[in-house]
Symmetry: C2
């Protein structure tokens, strides 16, 4: 087949093997689905009603300009609508960012072990990546976090044209302050774009998110309805950037790519702030439950500003063993194979019932490890 | 902004201005929405029930492997699942095809005035296009149709690496037989992919669609749930190709790009063959109504194997005038500005009530033209 040079050189690997595929390979269903940071607390009742009504209008294409939702987001953030664009989830927007700003052969920088879909797009468009190691520091407040100094240094050294950071971070759950972020942007090469993935923004402490009107031509922020709003299967994310960046996205994006049922659901969910507040509160309680469950089996959890928790198992081999046991016992969780992240197992906050069952499974798994 | 060379060179124009944007500019709503070839007959009751139930599971990501729907499609078409991939509509899949097979500077061939989104992607990936004129032949069975000989000749002359054809065709409604298609493929340069957009497949006469197991390594067929299945706002399309082509798509596609509500709806709709049969029957009746409405005002309609009808107004200037009058009178329709297509106005088949109202509006518009 006469594939392009770039596509011909790509590996067959995909960013994530989904739980459905794991279930097919195992020949049975998971009892707990806590590996994809989905929001087990579901969707706002307003979003549910809006989506069920919207099903009756699904014969119509959505508005390719997405104006109703964009206008609401502009009001929500207090920024001009020209600074906003929708995508079918942050994954889609990451692809557009790479395509708009990275020529083949250009360099992107990210943390080693960071969100694989970003690097999937970097390779997919023929660009290259360099990665800075996560920082592991014994018993600091954040024992395991992105190393902003290392990212900034690597970006300068490699003359990077794009840096990717998730804040709050996936897969560690750690976070940096808005001051740290601004300082990192200040140290980047002049022509280097900064992609700030804020998928977990709603769960973050107050000092983590730069002000909505913080304006730097290199900054592209990404948000989603997949996490706190509970609409992972809906595929609605959005990017905030300068009007010039948004205009570039509009020149290449898939204009009819947004499902209209999800778009109407997102609009309704945006109006239900109390629902999101409740989700954030319940997730916080769930993280505390996980910390107690870890403690009761002699483990610790890392601080998290997200809807998941990293269980620190101490080293990569033991963490691999525990992760395998949890999967065998019917609990879908994930772990990174990259040091120093490989010492952790990542567990999405479940419902109260999920957490009780997870506690039992964790106890059983750790007792099997001791034997 | 340090945009890539390709994106920096792209125009701000987008393939389609949606009816919502036209309404915003006019300051009022359309009375009839017959410009986007949406299926006014809605969705299967089975799809509706499936989607309303699926809303309650929208907190979960869809299966990135899309196996349940792909397996059903494989059975439906009697082909191996390795020959199938989903996309968020044919638009998405056209982008993947261009990205997989066209290097920057490579040439794609299509008909002048054919589906603009294909050319949007060709330009968007830095490739170039050459276009063969549609053929207009007085009072043949198909007075206005793609010119397959011209397409084949142009592909050879320009050493094209991709040819795009819609069959049945949008925007004319005309069609060619499967034999014609096979013959065209046979005449293409050896390294030239053939993208066959079969969005209107369900409306086509029996001899139009190549057999499902017709196998040519250069052929990529595209289908959708947006037309006969009535799910335009759901964004589900699929491509059929060789396992090698499908594997290339899987190396670059957005793996979590499909809305899970729509995916469950598509699965249910695929199982409701009687619904699709009824839609096809009602669309056929609607086309006959339009032919009568045209005749009563001294116009003709072109034969159509789709869910829309081209009204032949005789020349471009008169067609522009009529199209403007229809829009002014609250009827969203579309027309091409490219000769020889510019002599036509394209009108989606509406419900019986829509058609009565359209007949009245057409009568009023044509009477204003005479004055």
């Amino acid at each position: 087949m006469p594939l392009t040079k770039i596509v011909n050189g790509l590996p067959d690997t995909i960013p994530f093997t989904g739980p459905e595929e794991l279930e097919r390979r195992m020949g049975r269903r998971f009892r707990l689905r806590l590996g994809a940071n989905e929001s087990v607390f579901g969707i706002s009742p307003l979003a549910r009603d809006a989506m069920k009504r919207a099903v009756d209008r699904v014969w119509r294409y959505g508005d390719p300009g997405n104006r109703e939702l964009l206008d609401a987001l502009a009001v929500h953030h207090g920024i001009p609508v020209e600074r906003l664009v929708l995508g079918s989830g942050i994954d889609d927007l990451l692809g557009l960012a790479v395509r708009a700003f990275l020529n083949p052969g250009d360099t992107a920088v990210a943390s080693l072990g960071a969100y694989p879909t970003f690097l999937y797009h970097v390779a997919g468009y023929g660009a290259r990546s360099e990665q800075a190691s996560y920082r592991f520091v014994g018993d600091a407040v954040h024992p395991l976090s992105n190393d902003l100094d290392a990212l900034g240094d690597l970006a300068r050294r490699s003359d990077a044209r794009m840096v990717y950071l998730s804040n709050p971070d996936n897969p560690t759950g750690s976070w940096h302050t808005a001051d740290d972020i601004r300082s990192l942007i200040g140290r980047l090469p002049g022509s280097c774009m900064f992609v700030l993935d804020e998928a977990y923004a709603e769960f973050a402490p107050e000092d983590v998110l730069p002000a909505a009107d913080f304006d730097d031509s290199r900054l592209i922020r990404m948000r989603t309805f997949s996490k706190a709003h509970g609409m992972a299967g809906g595929r609605i994310g959005y990017a905030i950037g300068t009007p010039e960046t948004i205009s570039a996205f509009n020149r290449i994006r898939h204009h009819f790519g947004i499902n209209r049922v999800a778009e109407e659901g997102a609009l309704a969910s945006l109006g239900d702030r109390e629902f999101v507040r409740q989700v954030v509160k319940r997730v916080s309680e769930g993280r505390d439950d996980y910390a107690r469950a870890a403690k009761s089996v002699g483990l610790i959890t890392l601080p998290s500003a997200t809807n998941f928790v990293s269980f620190d198992i101490g080293d990569g081999t033991r963490a691999d063993t525990l992760c395998g046991l949890l999967l065998d016992l019917g609990c879908f969780v994930r772990k990174s194979g990259t040091p120093p992240l490989d010492r952790c197992v990542r567990v999405t906050v479940g419902t109260e019932a999920d957490r009780r069952l997870f506690g039992d499974i964790l106890e059983r798994a750790t007792s099997e490890m001791v034997r």
